[in-house]
């Protein structure tokens, strides 16, 4: 075991798996213990874990990862339409297609580094979005989005003589993947994804990625060709994004172009930075927090706010409701923006840095009784 994984890594992995699998229990008091939201926690967790391999380990900031997420969704829906409603072939197909797509875009974008790399990825992603939205309508069904229909060929299902009644939904070995089944399906993939990311980060390859982030010039003068390393990291993170996109299509078999838009690419950057760039757990926590607050805040409206602030005097309450209403509902991005600004200014290492600082403070102060009292001078 020692050569396979260190004790700390193993504990981290087991702890992570337990926290994830028990989410339906411990998130219920927070009003988040329902499958729909939990599935999104898993999906965007995977997206962020993969993004961190490129951004956190290798130091390349991509502003176009939503493109791979979208490609994963489209590929999965096509697999449902053409092959079978079973989820596994769809996932495999989606990961391969998004990996190939990432190989092409990564090959071109990695000719530059720094801000130019970011701009290139952004440009490619916006091109992909526009292709999906209009030019490639026969493949993507444009504005309406790609959906499952009763008339889809599904050759594998047809060959096995399986027929469906009603609206087709993705399955796993014949079981429908709605509700908690869908959550555990996604949770399994998140745990696998986390395990793989842990392995990558703790491997010689992971050390090379960190060295590229630290000093690319030294890497080259040390005898490494850094381009294939960065490209591998790019393709791996693209495949993670494709996997996440495919899972979103499994839980809700509809792929639209909007999930490739630059705001979606920006969101995963925010998740990673909010949680802690370069840490393993941070990006997942960032993803959970953003998805949680998106869910809570965007559901609030003026009536709920009025109730919440009702303890204030009437005139004041009206003003407060008016102001706070701008930060909830459709305006929840304002809140997100504020939180993000505060984190970047005061905790550049994200939530994980906050956790580290808190444990450091707790350790320094020690047990309260241990502190010696300063003798008071006698009056």
């Amino acid at each position: 075991m020692t050569n396979f994984m260190s004790r700390n890594d193993l504990l981290l992995f087991l702890g992570f798996a337990v926290v994830v699998l028990a989410m339906p229990i411990w998130l219920t008091p927070f009003g988040a213990g329902y499958p729909d939201l939990l599935q999104r926690f898993m999906i965007f967790g995977i997206f962020a874990v993969g993004f961190n391999i490129l951004f956190g380990l290798t130091g390349y900031l991509s502003f176009g990862h939503a493109a791979f997420f979208g490609v994963g969704s489209y590929a999965a829906v096509w697999s449902f339409k053409l092959l079978t409603l079973d989820a596994i072939p769809a996932m495999i197909f989606a990961v391969i297609i998004s990996g190939l797509f990432a190989l092409v875009i990564g090959f071109l974008s990695l000719r530059r580094s720094g801000i130019y790399f970011s701009i290139l990825t952004l440009a490619f992603a916006q091109m992909s979005y526009n292709l999906a939205y209009s030019v490639l309508t026969p493949i993507t069904n444009g504005e309406t989005g790609l959906q499952l229909t009763l008339n889809d060929p599904r050759v594998l299902d047809a060959a096995l003589g399986q027929t469906f009644v009603g609206q087709p939904v993705p399955t796993l070995l014949g079981q429908q993947l709605g509700g908690y089944a869908g959550f555990y399906f996604c949770a399994g993939f998140l745990i696998l994804s986390f395990f793989f990311a842990q392995r990558v980060a703790g491997s010689p390859f992971g050390m090379m990625l960190k060295s590229i982030k630290s000093n690319q010039t030294r890497m080259q003068f040390t005898g490494f060709n850094t381009r294939p390393y960065a490209l591998s990291a790019f393709v791996i993170s693209g495949m993670y994004a494709g996997l996440a996109g495919a899972l979103l299509a499994v839980t809700d078999p509809l792929a639209g172009a909007e999930r490739m838009q630059w705001t979606a690419s920006g969101e995963v950057v925010l998740m990673t930075i909010l949680g802690g760039v370069g840490t393993l757990v941070g990006p997942v926590i960032g993803a959970w927090i953003i998805k949680y607050f998106e869910n809570i805040l965007s559901a609030l409206n003026d009536n709920i706010l009025a109730q919440f602030w009702s303890f204030l005097p009437e005139g004041v309450a009206d003003v407060v409701v008016k102001v706070t209403s701008k930060f909830v509902g459709d305006g929840w991005h304002l809140t997100l923006g504020l939180v993000f600004v505060i984190i970047v200014i005061f905790l550049p290492g994200g939530i994980m840095e906050g956790v580290r600082r808190l444990t450091a403070v707790a350790r320094r102060s020690g047990p309260p009784g241990a502190k010696s009292h300063q003798p008071q001078p006698a009056e």
Binding site: M5, R199, P204, F205, M207, S214, Q220, F221, T222, G223
Partner: protein
Amino acid sequence: MANSNVVLHVADVHKRFGGLHALADIDLQVEEGKTHAIIGPNGAGKSTLLNVIIGKLAPTSGQVVFDGNMLTGRKPYQINQLGIARVFQTPEIFADLSVLHNVMIPAFAKRDGTFTLNMLRSLDSETTIRQEAEHMLEDVGMLNRRDMHAGSLSRGDKRRMELAMCLIQHPRLLLLDEPTAGMSRHDTNTTIELLKKIKERGMTKVIIEHDMHVVFSLADKISVLAQGRIIADGSPDEVRGNPKVQEAYLGGAH
């Protein structure tokens, strides 16, 4: 050129930057196992010459041959894989990683080549490379700092670590760009001792330096560069006695 012991041959190299003739007609032969110092006043073209050798700059004309391989036009990582390691004027290290990892990375380059996709292997299972790195750190007297963050080392320690990073690859040629620049007298002396130790193992070295104390304690052969040209070439004693050198360089110091 008839000399078969020549490892590095800089042949007829010119380098122009616009109108500036930074290097003119440079012809240099570095013999196997020797320490060859290149000295000269500031702006003489020493660093340009080193950058041409290492492939960072392409010469305007001429060529650099290392052990039968043309270096001109090759990428830095290819040049390293041929067996040339370099210590920079300002230490180029992996500041975000631990000292031990800094020294392990070059060992991976030596073992696995320019690119390997070994991402499912655990770093902890690489015991051979870890031990090699620890021996190397012991050699340069830094084993007690192995778990430190490389970025927080003193300048002298960074340089020693960078030297360890080069030595772990067992290069056939080691290039040192002012290895004692910005160091205290004490650190300079420990570095000289370390370089002497390396010399005993027969490693070929090219040193760029303007500290005469360092040069005369280490070099077997000295080439003096002034205004982009080699004005003298020979053993330390010959160079010291050369009136042209005294006029161009040493004279200014006295």
